[in-house]
């Protein structure tokens, strides 16, 4: 395929992905808006006002970056895992397999689709949060870079999950038993400075902690961890997952007999 043709193929996949999640917006865009508004009202306003300050900021202002990241992570992952798995399930993945689209374009298309939803939801949640607190951008470049890379990473994660999944149960195991706990324990609701030494050390092994903190640094200018380390770590994970995804695609794992 010529470079032009590859670009057309890529944009075809992205357009199709965006069309899919906007068509089913009550399942994809509405739920995070509702859930996050509830978090803002309950944790931020009602409970937060009693907590006072966290790391020198209002509790509300402290949790908003974490909650935005939480919805970005969940939505990016969910988009790719459910879209790609249902393609496998309905066998419409064969439309791509018989076509000359190279594997890396397929991967790029799905990841871009996942990022479109993840970042779209992130934007919706950000706008909603403005009704509860004033966000100032302390470091715009760090903010955008962190959220984009994180969204990319979890889109890739969703892709791997979908490649390995053989039944619908398999696509909810990771979000429920891995992503949700890691996010809740990833410093969304508290600063790990509050934790006893042992649990603080354990928390440092949680990759999501680094993403939440890097993003919070971009907005509030505070972080429990080194931002440069965080970003390099995300990039490293991305590289590893890209290699894994391409190898699985090349072998046709779970999609070719």
């Amino acid at each position: 395929m010529s470079p032009d043709a590859k670009l057309t193929a890529l944009s075809t996949i992205v357009v199709r992905e965006v069309r899919r999640f906007t068509r089913i917006w009550p399942q994809t865009l509405l739920p995070p808006a509702v859930t996050m508004t509830l978090y803002f009202v309950i944790f931020g306003n009602l409970i937060g006002s009693r907590i006072g300050q966290m790391d020198g900021h209002d509790y509300m202002a402290f949790i908003v970056p974490g909650l935005i990241m939480m919805s970005v992570i969940t939505s990016s992952y969910a988009n790719v895992v459910s879209s790609f798995f249902s393609m496998k399930f309905q066998r419409s993945i064969e439309e791509l397999l018989v076509s000359p689209v190279p594997n890396y374009i397929i991967l790029a298309g799905y990841v871009a689709g996942g990022m479109a939803r993840g970042l779209g939801v992130g934007l919706i949640v950000t706008v909603l949060s403005l009704g509860f607190t004033n966000l100032s951008l302390h470091h715009p470049a760090a903010t955008v870079l962190t959220v984009a890379l994180t969204s990319m990473l979890f889109s890739l994660g969703g892709f791997i999950n979908a490649m390995l999944a053989t039944k619908f149960d398999d696509i909810s195991i990771v979000p429920t038993f891995v992503l949700t706990p890691l996010t809740y324990l990833g410093g969304v609701f508290y600063s790990i400075q509050l934790l006893p030494d042992f649990w603080r050390a354990v928390s440092m092994a949680n990759p999501i902690l680094y993403m939440v903190n890097a993003f919070r640094y971009g907005i509030l200018g505070i972080s429990d961890v080194n931002v440069g380390v965080s970003l390099s770590m995300i990039v490293l994970f991305i590289v590893i997952l890209v290699v894994l995804c391409l190898r699985m695609l090349a072998r046709g794992r779970g999609i070719r007999h």
Binding site: S2, A5, T8, R91, S92, P100, V101
Partner: protein
């Protein structure tokens, strides 16, 4: 002339250990209308699946218009359009989106893709349904949607795996006309079917596959010549109680008004009629017992499985 499809010593053993293809060779010339026939489980879909890279081969060589699928897969795919045996589109997507998206996968920009999609959806009588989600189509419409999707990038080789299964007679005829027209305009077509009259009506060349091996690969005409005996059903004007003994023909009574008669190669029907006439029997109407190809096919496949039993 290049070969549209060339398959050499193709083998496939599935992960289950089942050997579905035992080294087949097949050549389809450019411009041909070719039928791949065989009973259920013979290996037809497996063969076609390997050609369009939905199934990984175990060994052997496949090339499409000279593009070897191991060395130039994307070149091979560009020339190929596939209508699979099972439905494989997203049920929730709109008909037009399915076809336009497929064109995009071949690198055709949206504007040109829409023109091509419109043309084929109209040709296949689906234009009125373009904005419906695919799940709202009837079974026959879904098949036609898959044909439109396979053609939208104008491939030189069109592969159809049982395109007329579950399609009503009128529609089947119109699909035949459509495919013949496509072939006349230069598209090479390979199809599988269980309706042998379809293969006889459409295809110039036929291969018969069974248990993963090719039994026959020849022109439809030569294949039919091998049919040494043809059986006709005769409706008689008066009922008879037993089959008449004719000098040159074997006959059997089906029921008192109907007779079966075997006509061997080299014999002619006029002789049969005059011998019947001599017995005072009048024939009102006549038809062949089975489709000619069907008879030949059944005989070959039965012979093959007898051989298989002995082996």
């Amino acid at each position: 002339m290049t070969d549209a499809l060339k398959i050499e010593n193709l083998r496939k053993t599935y992960d289950s250990g089942f050997e579905a293809l035992k080294g087949i060779d097949l050549t389809v010339r450019e411009g041909d209308f070719f039928a791949l026939l065989g009973p259920n489980g013979a290996g037809k879909s497996t063969t076609l699946g390997i050609v369009c890279s939905l199934v990984n081969k175990t060994s052997g060589k496949v090339s499409v218009f000279g593009h070897d699928i191991d060395r130039d897969l994307s070149g091979a795919k560009m020339n190929l359009g596939v209508v699979p045996q099972e439905m494989n589109f997203n049920q929730f997507e709109k008909v037009i989106d399915i076809v336009v998206t497929q064109a995009g996968y071949y690198g055709i920009p949206a504007k040109r893709a829409r023109v091509s999609a419109e043309y084929y959806l109209k040709e296949l009588g689906l234009w009125d349904k373009r904005n419906e989600p695919a799940r709202m189509l009837s079974g026959g419409m879904k098949r036609r949607l898959m044909i439109a999707r396979a053609l939208v990038h104008e491939p030189k080789l069109l592969i159809l795996d049982e395109p007329t299964a579950g399609v009503d007679i009128e529609l089947r005829r119109s699909m035949w006309t459509f495919l013949q027209e496509m072939n006349r305009r230069g598209t090479t077509i390979i199809l599988t079917t269980h309706y042998l009259e379809e293969a006889e009506a459409l295809c110039r060349n036929i291969a018969i596959i069974d248990h993963g091996s090719i039994l026959q690969n020849t022109s439809t005409r030569d294949l039919l010549k091998q049919l040494s005996v043809e059986t006709f059903l005769l409706d008689l004007s008066e009922p008879v109680s037993e089959a008449p003994e004719l000098p040159d023909f074997d006959t059997r009574l089906v029921n008192e008004g109907q007779l079966e008669i075997d006509v061997r190669q080299g014999q002619n029907l006029n002789a049969a009629f005059s011998q019947l006439d001599a017995k005072g029997l009048r024939v009102v109407s006549m038809r062949t017992k089975a489709n000619r190809l069907e008879e030949l096919f059944l005989r070959m496949v039965q012979e093959n499985s007898r051989k298989g039993d002995k082996a």
